[in-house]
Symmetry: C2
Subunit: 132 residues, 2 copies
């Protein structure tokens, strides 16, 4: 969950897990100790319809930053597990958007960032994500 | 983790996760709140080599029981996620054994059970599990 407030990050992640379960064709879970264990893992893992999605979640009011190590861990984990790497963002009073790593903004300092404008321009909605 | 002592269950699960990571071809994770969330999920999820394993873990000194709901949840989750359902058992001073649900003993009361003898007779070792 990166810099997120733990409680809020957990709440939005549980919301997303429920959305996947409500499709009746995907099973989803939160990873224990994500961000605090030595072994890399995304925030959520979702499986169904022959696909596995590894999702790093970010939520908040405005632009969110993701450090390069976290992105690299997401890519490494997904490659080894056999999952699609996704960044899921949820801005207040907006729905979820899902971006691939290449769609994120990269700052001069090498940090990845995403704001609502970028999410809407380059991200896909939940419905589009699950029907790919 | 069922009836396990939480601390001990967590320790043996982390041991197993490390064993998978040490293969360099599998990525593994613990599921957050397994056994305490309304949405069913196994204790561990492991992916790699084109496979996904959903593992319910049991550890302790002697015979372990698993209630039928937990077994059904494991099977349902695995079917939806696209994972192989496994029960992983770790008895003190013994290594891990992995059994499919059909290999478990079913008591008259409908509970599933596994002891070291059954695990050794019908289970597979870690090496065999990962090389299937």
């Amino acid at each position: 969950m990166g810099n997120n407030n733990k409680g809020k990050g957990g709440r939005t992640e549980r919301e997303l897990i429920k959305m996947f379960f409500d499709t009746n064709v995907f099973a989803a879970l939160r990873v224990a100790g994500s961000g605090s264990t030595p072994l890399p893992a995304p925030d959520l893992l979702v499986g169904g319809m022959g696909r596995v999605l590894a999702i790093e979640c970010k939520s908040g009011k405005k632009r969110r930053y993701i450090d390069p190590e976290q992105i690299q861990e997401l890519l490494d984990f997904a490659a080894k597990f056999g999952a699609e790497p996704w960044v899921g963002v949820r801005f207040d009073r907006e729905g979820w958007y899902f971006l691939d790593v290449k769609s994120l903004h990269v700052s001069k300092g090498g940090n990845y960032a995403v704001d609502l404008k970028l999410a809407m321009e380059r991200g896909v909605s939940f419905e589009v994500l699950i029907n790919r």
